[in-house]
Symmetry: C2
Subunit: 327 residues, 2 copies
């Protein structure tokens, strides 16, 4: 039941070729168009998706100030020392007010800019009003098609938007610090449930041991003790600026990749659940943007909303009708 | 293009009648079934929705500890003094760990329990894994059908889940305190954009004036200065335990209702955008639960996810296919 892909015109095929041979300028322009919600790039992204899926995508999230960017910087150096190519996609789901932080992070990572094996890109929610998870997913298709060995998908925060974004990754690294609010925020946001590896950064700060113990308890609570094959998320203590613990962290990330290789059924389940999340985001986005499209489909959707407001219909009936493609 | 409603059997009609005459025990049982995701109640909820829409629904959110429940308690007393009937739906999107807070809040509001004009109900995310916004929407249909004049929909927190929930309301009250993190969290979560009325509670704490000024600036930033008809969200300083500012807050909430009455086009736009949010939540929920259903539709969805994982299809093509009900 594969769905046929929209035909690519000669120009589209040219874009696909340019991305696949790793043309940095063309890739950057494509991501800019994705960020601007230019829908004419969608067929290109679709073609890239269908030919892709080889990069190891590592999602990284945690509260602002946890030291994610410094850790990412150190991880890049480690991957490069092993001659692996790396892309970084830094996504900021917050409002325009916090634009400064991401900019600062970009400058900090500038030392890798002269390195052809590293591609760094940031993306913000500015003016996006949702759809950031969609845009991040499309940008990942580009980075993956470039043939990068490792993609670090970094996002700031611990809310649902961040979870939606890191769900694109097959390995999720949660960065926490011993600071008081971190653990509570993480529990509230349900982010512990999506973490595959935990870094307790600023491990020299007071309360680190207690924070590790609390994390361990929360993570073990989540595991099924009877499932010997289940992945046990490691908790690694790091001090990013001095590089302390970064080797152990790399080992933990490698360990998770190795776990996927030796547990193909678990990997497939994860990929399926990921596909469902991505698809759900796209459907939601499609509904939110439907009215912008114009045409008969927009009019039909507007009519559906009118019927809801006037109580001639109800949300359950309308949802069932929208999902007729599945019934 | 109204969609016909599923036929209600005699038992279903009996439930509808019981809810509409305000049978408290039957209503509580119905909400329990909604919370348990018992889909057999959906036709009843659909019928209630189509006959409803009269209650003034006020959504209330803000960080934990901001004093929302105490404010709600005081507001209930004010509405009751005017002989308006009130329902409270307290929704906790957080993890099981925070169950205690809601329980405490319920106990605090127990003084209204002997009052027939007040119906108080809490609902938690425990074991729900999403779908809480859907369940809250269905529960609102029940409270609305009971004929309550005012429904206070209280939710704890400032994340996307809370925004999804308070979107069910036509008036959104955001409770903040002068405490350091509140404003930053609210800006990050985009919650300022959904607030119609703001309460700065604990207004006797240090930093209250600065917090009011920051809120005012953020709220005005959001307004179109050229639109003389736009609602200007009032910011009311309160000290909930002593009841200080509660009358002014009630006046602000009344003022927003009056604004809707004198601006029917704006109200319609709000209702349409609300209908779109509710519908989108239901579609998302429908996709997440599709595999639980069994049957041909679940198999078709599973096949779609297989095609995505095996890259025979891509997310954009799959989303378009799901939305064929609109094309």
């Amino acid at each position: 039941m594969a769905v046929s892909q929209p035909d690519l015109d000669a120009q589209g095929r040219d874009w696909v070729t340019a991305v696949r041979r790793g043309d940095v300028r063309r890739c950057a322009r494509l991501i800019t168009r994705i960020e601007a919600r230019d829908e004419t790039v969608t067929p290109i992204v679709q073609a890239l998706y269908r030919q892709g899926g080889r990069s190891a995508v590592i999602g990284i999230t945690g509260p602002p100030g946890a030291g994610k960017s410094t850790l990412v910087d150190k991880l890049i150096a480690r991957y490069r020392a092993r001659s692996q190519s790396v892309a970084v996609l830094a996504v900021d789901p917050a409002s325009p007010f916090s634009g400064g932080a991401i900019l600062g992070d970009r400058v900090r990572m500038a030392r890798h800019n002269a390195d052809d094996g590293v591609f760094i890109r940031s993306m913000s929610a500015r003016g996006m009003l949702g759809g950031l998870a969609r845009a991040a997913g499309d940008a990942l298709c580009v980075l993956d098609a470039m043939g990068k060995d490792v993609i670090l998908l970094e996002t700031v925060g611990v809310g649902q938007s961040e979870i939606d974004i890191v769900r694109h990754a097959l390995t999720v690294l949660i960065v926490q610090t011993p600071a008081g609010g971190d653990a509570v925020q993480a529990v509230k946001a349900g982010i512990l449930e999506v973490g595959d590896v935990f870094a307790l950064n600023k491990a020299d700060a007071p309360g680190a041991d207690r924070a590790v113990a609390a994390l361990r308890e929360a993570v073990e609570f989540r595991n099924d003790p009877h499932d010997a094959n289940a992945w046990r998320p490691p908790i690694v203590q790091t001090q990013a600026p001095d590089g302390i613990g970064v080797d152990a962290l790399l080992e933990a990330l490698d360990g998770h990749l190795a776990h996927w290789r030796t547990h193909p059924e678990a990997l497939r389940r994860r990929r399926l659940s990921q596909a469902r999340s991505v698809l759900t985001d796209l459907v939601r986005d499609g509904l939110h943007r439907r009215h912008e499209r114009g045409g008969e489909s927009a009019a039909r959707f507007a009519g559906m909303l009118d019927d809801l407001v006037d109580r001639r219909s109800d949300p359950h009936a309308a949802a069932a009708r929208i999902l007729t493609g599945l019934t």
